[in-house]
């Protein structure tokens, strides 16, 4: 029987030291909604669990320089309750709020969603579309990395031993800009995304798209940033023709697998559909953001 220890340090540095000392045996814990399932099923047998929730700032949202800093262990429910986050980054909030049930929302965090490195994680396409960045703490100090550099494959991250994500930063937004996220699941709730799509748009005063970012979940080993698809939106008013080429451009970059949750063919088709729909929502929202 392997020994399992539990620590709840009160500083990020202390947590990093403990994790670094445990090597591959250590696991940071924020919401625990993935970690505990893996623990129980025996898929994961860590020697040390480091609870991040007692670290100052690990739970909470603060506005900083026009953007937002979200603590790593902030549960999804808190994102929805925040007075301004959902107005500025509605797509990020709706993506995070799709993770699991009300009960899961009471615990699950976006940082955990990101570091669990599932290709189907709901909040990740939205974070990547939003150009979110992460503050990573490790034994050699702090560094910052874009959200799309965290996962490098299913269940695998670029984090080094002892490193963990402490904060997620969402940049400031200009006027006439908005994001949105949609996923496709068979039921109404409680499912893992079969496909997810996040789109972030900025418009000029005439309603022409000046900036676009499209991120797709569950259609590749990590979230796919659809550069061509996004570029195709720029200069349009998200009209039918633009949407049709978005659909095609998105399908062209999908590299999904067939598994118990959906076939590759289905996922590719749905990615196009969702991208169109989600771009439409983001566009309508951006026009409202005066």
């Amino acid at each position: 029987m392997s020994q399992l220890d539990f620590l709840a340090p009160t500083s990020a540095e202390e947590a990093a030291r403990a994790l670094a000392a445990s090597g591959a045996e250590g696991r940071p814990l924020s919401g625990g909604t993935d970690l505990l399932v893996q623990l129980r099923s025996g898929r994961l047998k860590p020697g040390l669990i480091v609870d991040l929730k007692k670290i100052p700032g690990a739970i909470g949202i603060r506005e900083e320089g026009g953007g937002f800093v979200i603590g790593a262990a902030t549960p999804g429910a808190m994102l929805g309750e925040h007075p301004s986050l959902g107005r500025v980054w509605p797509g990020v909030v709706e993506a995070a709020s799709l993770i699991g049930s009300t009960q899961i929302q009471g615990r699950a965090s976006m940082a955990g969603n990101l570091c669990n490195a599932s290709p189907a994680a709901d909040s990740v396409p939205a974070l990547i579309a939003a150009r979110a960045t992460c503050v990573i703490v490790g034994p050699s100090g702090r560094r910052t990395a874009p959200a799309n550099e965290i996962a490098i494959g299913p269940g695998r991250t670029s984090l080094q031993p002892g490193e963990f994500v402490l904060e997620i930063h969402l940049p400031p937004r200009g006027r006439r800009a908005a994001d949105a996220y949609l996923r496709s699941i068979p039921r109404t709730e409680m499912d893992i995304a079969v496909v997810g799509a996040g789109v972030s748009l900025a418009l000029d005063a005439d309603g022409v798209i000046t900036e676009a970012r499209v991120a797709l979940g569950a259609v590749g080993p990590t979230v796919i940033v659809a550069e061509d698809a996004a570029a195709g939106l720029v200069g349009t008013r998200a009209d039918d023709a633009a949407m049709a080429s978005l659909d095609a451009a998105v399908r062209a970059v999908c590299r999904p697998i067939t598994d118990k949750r959906g076939t590759a063919d289905f996922r590719t088709k749905i990615a196009g559909v969702l991208a169109r729909r989600v771009a439409g929502i983001a566009y309508a929202r951006a026009k409202e953001q005066k």
Binding site: D5, I104, M190
Partner: protein, 161 residues
């Protein structure tokens, strides 16, 4: 295997127990504290039968480590009736025949209580989505939803009166 000594507040009362590092809050409630009202239906956060309120937030106690409960406030089904008087939700569940086998009932009641505390006047759709994490295989949810909404109405009326 070293056990941790945990102190917490459960249903308003101070409790202490020893816990293995991998044990869940649900394990502690059921096996250490004898509070078997919270049920384990899946152990993976998918059925909601183990729902408790932790520092005011609805959670699955199977997805909380017992060690995380240190210094925190836990509310379980056993604390829902006050001094032998049923909570209106408990009464309405009986009145509406909102339980058949009753196994998911404690979790549904705890989740519904959290709903009505957050949103005293939920629509049918809001109620259904809030309770989507509580599987019930017997009732088809119809009478459960009616009972929760009826209890909400009664609580609102009591507040006005």
């Amino acid at each position: 295997m070293s056990k941790q000594h945990i102190t917490a507040t459960v249903n308003g009362d101070p409790v202490e127990f020893l816990s293995e590092a991998g044990a869940t809050l649900l394990d502690a409630l059921r096996d250490e504290l004898g509070l078997t009202g919270s049920k384990e239906g899946c152990g993976s956060g998918d059925c909601g039968a183990c729902s408790v309120i932790l520092d005011g937030r609805l959670v699955c106690s199977c997805l909380v480590l017992a060690a995380e409960a240190e210094g925190r406030r836990v509310e379980t089904i056993e604390g829902m009736a006050e001094g032998g008087v049923l909570h209106p939700l408990q009464r309405k569940f009986i009145e509406h025949a909102a339980l058949q086998c009753g196994f998911c009932t404690p979790g549904l009641l705890v989740a519904a209580k959290a709903l009505l505390e957050t949103n005293p006047d939920p629509s049918e759709s809001e109620t259904r989505y809030w309770l989507a994490g509580n599987l019930c295989r017997c009732t088809g949810y119809d009478k459960v939803i009616r009972a929760v909404m009826d209890a909400g109405a009664e609580l609102r009326q009591a507040r006005v009166a």
